[in-house]
Amino acid sequence: MPSKYLLFILTFLCTVLMLITFGTNVFNRPLNTVLGYIIVPFEQGISRAGGWLSNRSEELSQIRSLLDENAALKEQLAALTEENTLLQQDKYELNKLRQLVKLDEQYGEYHKVGARIISRDSGNWYSTFIIDKGSDDGLCEDMNVIAGGGLVGRITSVGPNWARVTSIICDNSNVSGMTLATEDNLIVSGNLQLMADGVITFSQLVDSKNAVAEGDKIVTSDISDKYLPNILIGYIHTINRDTNNLTKSGYLTPAVDFEHLGEVLVITDLKQQVIEE
């Protein structure tokens, strides 16, 4: 077959694929499965070998600093134990009060599964990565992913033994958040350009009382479709009034160190969806 015809046929095929996958995900299932079984074992092997090597080199260089750190941590442990007992007392009291007002344990512990990152985006434009667990381990799309107490992103594609996580710093990602102290809603958007300085943007913050300040915690909001409430996103870095004089926008520093992510936790609880009839 002359190459011109082949080019034409494949162009047509690609266009049709793009149109179909834009709305549905008919093809994702089989392709994800087949390629998952070919590619993922290699990636797991390489990431394990790489992890082992970097661990060895780090071990050697860090022994001295670890000794100092150990001493400091022991002191901290003593202080924290004391604090913990105090907090425990508070918790009993809180539980008692909760029972009194019959609150559900809405913000109780979520079920989590640990997963290892085995590869990152093949290009330089987005911040997505692949983890080594998939639908066989009970994961599915839209599950939230956290690490180090902060929100990393959510699962956007699932194969049997892998899943793709789109992070919140990804240029095309938006998260509905709120300030923890005042419960004002806002939109957090990833930004490739600003991520070089370690910040991402937020916008549409209605703060009529001027109560939100720099350094405030931002968590996922109650009204988000995909994200569970009250997961820490980051801290406000700078805050500016928009030219419309009604809303505010600015930068926030993510709580997660996206440069050095190795393991993440996937929350297997999904946000409750309202089924439209």
Partner: protein, 172 residues
Amino acid sequence: MLRKFIVTIFILVCFVLQCSVFGALSFAGIVPNLMIILTSAFGFMRGEKEGLIIGFFCGLLSDVFYGDILGFYALILMYIGFLNGKFSRIFYPEDIKLPIALITVSDLSYGIICYIMQFLLRGRLDFPYYLGRIILPETIYTIIVTLFLYPLILKTNERLEAREKRRAQKFV
């Protein structure tokens, strides 16, 4: 048959390397684009048809794992492979200038197309920033990797071609 097998291995290994090993070896968060090197190299070494087929599969692999829609990268890489194939008539294995130039131009145009389709259309207008921060560093890193990877591809291709020639002569 052997050619198909070896090319498949090349694509898979390069993809896995690009996603894992080069992620760890990245300078300032930039990884080289091995898929472009493969597509482009097989394009100008073997002609339009092989270039476009290899480009298609390289792109499809990226699409499945990292793309939001299937077929986007496949389409771009397929055309890059096809256009590189146009240069197979003036390609000589001894000459290193043409391959380097072609791979550079291919990676630059790939970066610019990605920027236009995925960023410019969403209102990210600061082209100089993306050119300086993503597109140019990626191209430079890709060229450096090309200096090591390209001779390997070239040698493999020459071996395969010699083998195919021998087998063809047997049947005459």
